[in-house]
Symmetry: C2
Subunit: 227 residues, 2 copies
Amino acid sequence: MNCKACQNSASCIIALFNKNEQENAMKYMTNYKYKKGKAIFYEGLDSESFLTIKKGIVKLVRNESNNCQILRFAKAGDPIGYRSLITHDVHSTSAIPLTDTTVCSFPKNVFLDELNYNIALTDKMLQLVANDLKHTDALLVHLTHKTAIKRIAKALLNIADIFGLNEETKMLNTSFSRYDISCIASVSTESCIRMLSELKSKGIIDLINRSIKIIDKKQLELISSSE
Amino acid sequence: MNCKACQNSASCIIALFNKNEQENAMKYMTNYKYKKGKAIFYEGLDSESFLTIKKGIVKLVRNESNNCQILRFAKAGDPIGYRSLITHDVHSTSAIPLTDTTVCSFPKNVFLDELNYNIALTDKMLQLVANDLKHTDALLVHLTHKTAIKRIAKALLNIADIFGLNEETKMLNTSFSRYDISCIASVSTESCIRMLSELKSKGIIDLINRSIKIIDKKQLELISSSE
DNA sequence: AAGATAATATGATATAAATCATATTGTAAA
DNA sequence: TTTACAATATGATTTATATCATATTATCTT
């Protein structure tokens, strides 16, 4: 329960707090555990805390017209839900764990007070948000102007990039349901399954039980980026 | 050519600079004029300056697979191209004037040096980027999960919101080509035209010569937000 | 004022992808 | 180890929207 002993401390944003405030933050820090699928926060609800992921994998999603869209992921060491704190706004996404997840929670004012005068922290947040924006801009254009097969190819590459690919087996380290992949790629689940079958039939991926093997990453890149 | 005399000075980001640096910034400021349609910067190119719009309207677009996507707009008083400066990155969008435009340009280091130690400036940029992210998140979900007519309805509302609606005539203050509207809504130009005709036939808008009259804004909102 | 040109409009057709239907398989629980 | 259920798979059909084709109109030029 102490930040100093935490394995994420090297990359943790709390490390940017001024010494005294760091101690203070630790004092007010609470850990929460969430089962896979159990929301950490919902879009539209008030943002009450500054949260970082201690352990686990989380998808940040929005629901629209009975559809789900995954906007980004977060994993151990990543903060989540900070955009709404910064603009004093409600959450614009829901955070749903893909695995059992532990979260470090700090009262929002501990964060906001520090943000007021700690330029290293403010700059770090600026970098984070600017990177999110860069990715969302790119994602938006990709999803709106590329065909389903290209979106699925990119979804697989993203999963491999973020969560890793087993060097030996070439299997995705984290297993995603077809439904989750369809929510990354903005495609119906059935279409997603069809696209995966198509990629399999071309020898680019393999579907083993319910997990995915990336046989030909180059080819996936070619497909996802082709005009 | 002096910031003090500028009509945008009240909202201009340069006003957040420390006194000395403000004087310095003004010294290095250059105005550039761009004709309608002539790019201010292109996606993929290095970001060399901190830019604000003195006069005019600019679309921030990305080209993908021979298609154009408008991600946001900027008008007098707005900075543009700052995301890439912040992450020391190439521009991720192109900036194309929709009207003849004048830009204030500051060497990037004048901006970045100040950003290093001016927390008011850093915080302002954080607010700007966080707002951009909020809008892009929402746009992404809207474009990927709503039908064309809903996207067109929203595009019209956005134009009205950002550039205003003449109180008396209910005409959009800024005239956009059907092509530009199609690039906001991620729809083909022909489909855009059909959707506008449909909205006209329902008495929600009117098409007078080449400009658009918003007759029933409520209805547009209903359409754009319906499931 | 007439003509040229680009923008707008509309019809016909093609196509990608959603939806609906049903079958099969993997996994977890009894 | 069998059963049950959810996840995956695949086929048939529908639908939205892009594309292609052509016509009409507005605006600008001379």
